[in-house]
Assembly symmetry: C2
Homo-oligomer: 238 residues x 2
Amino acid sequence: MARAVRDRKRRPSSGPLSRARIVAEAVALADRHGFQNLSMRSLAERLGVEAMSLYNHVVDKNDLIDGMVDHVAGEIALPAREAPWKPALRQRALSAHQALVRHPWACPLIGLRLNVGDNMLAHVEAGLARLVEAGFSYEMADHAMNAIDNHVRGFTLQQLNFPIEPKKFAQTAQDYLPKLPPETYPHLRNLAERVASGAYDGLDDVSFGLDLVLDGLERLLRDGGAASRSSPGFSGAR
Amino acid sequence: MARAVRDRKRRPSSGPLSRARIVAEAVALADRHGFQNLSMRSLAERLGVEAMSLYNHVVDKNDLIDGMVDHVAGEIALPAREAPWKPALRQRALSAHQALVRHPWACPLIGLRLNVGDNMLAHVEAGLARLVEAGFSYEMADHAMNAIDNHVRGFTLQQLNFPIEPKKFAQTAQDYLPKLPPETYPHLRNLAERVASGAYDGLDDVSFGLDLVLDGLERLLRDGGAASRSSPGFSGAR
DNA sequence: TTGACCGGCTTACGGCGTAAGTCTACCTGC
DNA sequence: GCAGGTAGACTTACGCCGTAAGCCGGTCAA
């Protein structure tokens, strides 16, 4: 009893528990030890508290995860208001990419559940706003933003599955070569060999695919196809 | 003892255990009861067997999941060899979309681990082949395929988070309106209202964003930008 | 002074993946 | 026809997980 009281007093590092503190520590923990090693118990221990105490501030582990995702969304810079739509959305995408690389565990979580935290909503709102202001219809703007965001997410996800340092990158490709007999997978083999030789590294550059999409959108806007088009989507889900 | 023997004899529905049978049943079970309700135990029971018996044919649960993903990949039609690259890749993407809708749990799993099953490799090889034959450099073909596949995956993921039937779709959007005060999220609110009113349904059509990407690629190819470009990527990961 | 409540804590439950070891039916070579 | 090996099932058990249920001390308003 007395012990419990004393222990409670010497809770490490700062003040009372709160959703924000819990989420922030969870993010840090996932960054350091990987998302699949994040349990309510390990998180609680890290906060100098028992697991069940977390449930005073968080309804669920899912709720916690939602918070973590929104925390990452909060690190994405909002597009500059004054810039033209194209560089604005480009910057928005690159910033998102950086945030996702900083928190590799976040990428696969993003589409998994509907993410309707404040930060995510602000992120979506800002993107939508730039596009609508630029002259896209709401429905086209929605589709356009999806195209951009899907590219960023997909690319980053792929990138994160491979070691980032070029040396290791090539080595990993090397390791997979035996799985790619040239007679069954001629083109894939060919590509893999180029990577293994260190001659290329296709995952070093988000911006290529991004510009492909942005250029397509710009042309669409210029040619006037951006005003009509049948159907838009609700994009709260991201 | 005798009981165990008898039980083993009346294992339901057909022959001996095998990796293929296990994976197939796992896919069916995930389809029916959801991926997060698939455990080694429930799967084993479904197969009339004990959990640990599965490990004679599967090294891990992760290994099982890899098998499931590859099973889904096997349902994607390979692009027609004789068709021109654009309709070929369009069909490939649509077929992938259908497979992912058929097995909603598969979508979030796809990028999570490196997927190097035979079916997935064949899927990637086929796409790469069409693009290279069409005149794209290897590196450009890789980027192009990524752009296409990322769009399909991202779009499908979003789509699966919303109820498919238009009635429910609009209702769900309706439910989220309170979270979107017009003063903070004017554009998003606007969009959501259009969806809630039933006037629009932006998630009914993969092909729009897809054509955006394909058109962009076609233009790139026509303008000659498809031959150079610095760096390709190894795309075994999907 | 008292009593409600907030935010910690403890205990316990059922389920998970899987390591380790056992048993039996079958195949193979003599 | 029999010995020995093997493959593929089974049993048991461990340590982890998320979280339901309830307890208990400290704080603060009435």
